[in-house]
């Protein structure tokens, strides 16, 4: 099943399409340290793709390569069938790749609503002059995009804190607002960097439900990094396992679980 790129339908009835993003032989170095070594994998339309691995395996670096924050020394990134030239992060965002951060990166001085509205940057094109007069395109865009944003706010159940400055919110809600901001962009790929870090069991359950719902209702392709193995195995369609910057496993959760290299990396054997 994994070797074919034919669209298929999962057991719970979601449609998985062709390859949206393909990483080919990516190598990323920081000076003498090789963070990622010759890694290839792909992300298919509509799936939930997890990247797991022990601390320092290079997962976050991988996500940063996808979101354009790092440019790899070697290897190629293909997005929607086309090779992607080296890009600035904001250009990657303009292409429709949204992400959240391991350490929340919200705009603390702005209200929740304004934070989520910033997710609509790609869709709002009115010029400075129109905005200054608050007429025509600017006013229209503001209302139209507000409607989209309100749907996302409803969906993530954060209506009650709409006008609250983000700085005042507790951790769990901030995580949800950050997800809302990424979702508001209507991304073709959503990257989640440890969406459940530092959460208790209930919050994790909530977040898992949101991730599944997002994927199910909007058909959003999701790539996520997560440490909680139980969560990863439950949520994802396919898993990439990294260790020391190398890929040691790739496949469905069941395949990965029985992979000897993965078991070694997690349970620990002597590295020679």
């Amino acid at each position: 099943m994994l070797d074919s790129v034919e669209p298929y339908t999962t057991e719970d009835g979601r449609k998985i399409g062709g390859v949206v993003m393909e990483m080919k032989n990516i190598t990323l170095r920081f000076g003498g340290v090789t963070a990622i070594q010759d890694i290839s994998f792909d992300i298919r339309d509509g799936e939930i793709r997890a990247i797991i691995g022990p601390n320092g395996a290079g997962k976050s670096s991988m996500l940063n390569v996808i979101s354009g924050f790092y440019n790899p020394q070697e290897g190629e990134v293909f997005y929607k069938g086309e090779k992607r030239p080296p890009m600035k992060p904001f250009q990657v965002a303009q292409q429709g790749i949204a992400r959240t951060f391991q350490n929340i990166a919200l705009f603390e001085g702005m209200s929740v609503l304004d934070n989520v509205m910033t997710g609509r940057i790609r869709q709002m094109k009115a010029g400075l002059f129109a905005q200054a007069l608050w007429k025509g395109k600017a006013e229209r865009e503001e209302v139209e995009n507000r409607e989209v944003v309100e749907k996302v706010i409803d969906f993530l159940e954060i209506q009650h804190i709409r006008k609250t400055p983000v700085g005042r919110l507790p951790y769990g809600l901030k995580k949800r607002v950050e997800l809302a901001r990424a979702l508001a962009a209507e991304p073709s790929i959503l990257l989640l960097d440890e969406p459940m870090a530092g959460m208790n069991v209930e919050e994790k359950e909530d977040m898992s439900r949101f991730i599944l719902d997002v994927n199910d209702e909007f058909g959003t392709t999701i790539a996520l990094i997560e440490h909680d193995m139980g969560v990863v195995m439950d949520l994802s369609d396919r898993v990439v396992v990294m260790d020391y910057g190398k890929k040691i496993g790739d496949g469905t959760p069941d395949e990965v679980r029985t992979n000897q290299d993965v078991i070694d990396a997690y349970l620990g054997v002597a590295h020679d």
């Binding site: 904001f90 965002a93 951060f101 001085g109 940057i121 400075l128 209302v143």
Partner: protein, 358 residues
């Protein structure tokens, strides 16, 4: 009772995102506008206009401009005085080169020219931040003042090196020059203040403002979600300088009438406007007005109190004035670092329920 929003429901997003979503605020704003436009011009005299209203209105425009750059976009600037000088000299050159064109258009064009200069001096902000950027804008301050002092073309080769505003009229009423009636000067400035505040408010509640605030709060995250830092920072510099240029043009043409650049637009001006923004409240249009009012009115008030009320000698009063204003600024920053705008916000929170807190 005094201040309530209960029952004030919104049924559309346009209504919810308007400038004053609460009915009470909206009516108060209309009331202030009516009084400012229809009542004040008939009752003010020369003293009030020159000591209080003109400086307050003009500094309010400059403070709005600096607030957009520093308060909304997080880029510290010490070049305000220099940019005001650009506005003043641009206005002067336009007034003397095209005497037939309306002064109102000249002032707006002067703002546009200042915006261009602001963008030029904003370029370093793409690589440097914080204190280092402040020092870079300080270079703009000194360079611009030097330029207007040294290149005679800017002051039309006048012997004194000063520029003085020729008489110009709006609808037949002189608004610059010696013949200007106090109410006419007041109305021109009020017109520009109102327009500036509206435009600034529209920009800051829309996507432009969100991009600026995103850069201010966390520039890396802003870039990741798709804000082009180059465009966002430079547009902030442009808009900010536009307002500051208008303020400079009015300061020269309507308020002072004749200007020597080092005196009128020196580094002191930059600090004064920066204090206004900090005391009024960073990232607040209301704060710009509050800060300008505070720093313009307080010295006038103290002078009247000490010299007029208590009969102290003028020089003693002048020294005391410095001490008191300085001390108040420090007290203020310690007690409420977010400025007068935050005090106002807190007061409104309390008044929502007053006098029945439960």
């Amino acid at each position: 009772m005094f201040y309530r929003e209960a029952g004030d429901f919104k049924t559309s997003y346009a209504e919810d995102s308007q400038t004053f979503p609460i009915k009470f605020d909206r009516y108060r704003y209309y009331a202030v506008l009516v009084i400012a436009f229809a009542v004040v011009p008939f009752v003010i005299n020369d003293y009030w206009v020159n000591a209080v209203f003109l400086p307050f209105l003009i500094y309010a425009i400059a403070a709005i401009g600096l607030n957009i750059l520093t308060g909304y976009c997080g880029q510290v600037s010490l070049g305000t005085g220099g940019f005001m000088a650009v506005g003043a000299y641009a206005c002067y050159k336009l007034m003397t080169s095209f005497p037939e064109v309306s002064i109102l258009i000249h002032v707006i064009l002067a703002g546009g020219i200042t915006a261009g200069v602001g963008v030029l001096f904003g370029l370093p902000s793409l690589r440097i931040k914080g204190f280092y950027l402040a020092v870079a804008t300080l270079a703009a301050q000194f360079f611009l003042v030097w330029l207007f002092n040294r290149v005679p073309w800017f002051y039309n080769y006048s012997a004194s090196g000063q520029i003085s505003a020729p008489e110009r009229t709006v609808l037949g009423v002189p608004v610059t020059g010696a013949e200007t009636a106090p109410w006419a000067a007041y109305l021109v400035c009020l017109l520009f203040v109102t327009a500036s505040a509206l435009v600034a408010r529209n920009l800051t509640r829309g996507m432009a403002g969100r991009k600026w605030m995103a850069i201010r709060d966390m520039d890396i995250a802003a870039e990741i979600i798709g804000v082009d830092p180059l465009k966002a920072k430079l547009s902030a510099f442009a808009v900010s300088s536009f307002f500051i240029g208008i303020a400079g043009a009015l300061f020269f043409s309507v308020y002072l009438g004749a200007v020597e650049v080092g005196e009128a637009f020196g580094i002191n001006k930059s600090f004064l406007v920066l204090f206004m923004v900090i005391i009024g409240g960073l990232g607040s249009i209301f704060g710009s007005f509050a800060g300008a009012a505070f720093l313009v009115l307080l010295p006038v008030f103290l002078k009247n109190l000490l010299v007029g009320g208590l009969g102290w000698p003028t020089d003693l009063a002048a020294h005391l004035e410095f001490i008191i204003v300085g001390a108040l600024i420090i007290v203020f920053l310690v007690a409420e670092p977010h400025g007068l705008a935050q005090l106002w916000r807190v007061a409104k929170e309390k008044l929502r329920l007053w006098p029945f807190p439960h």
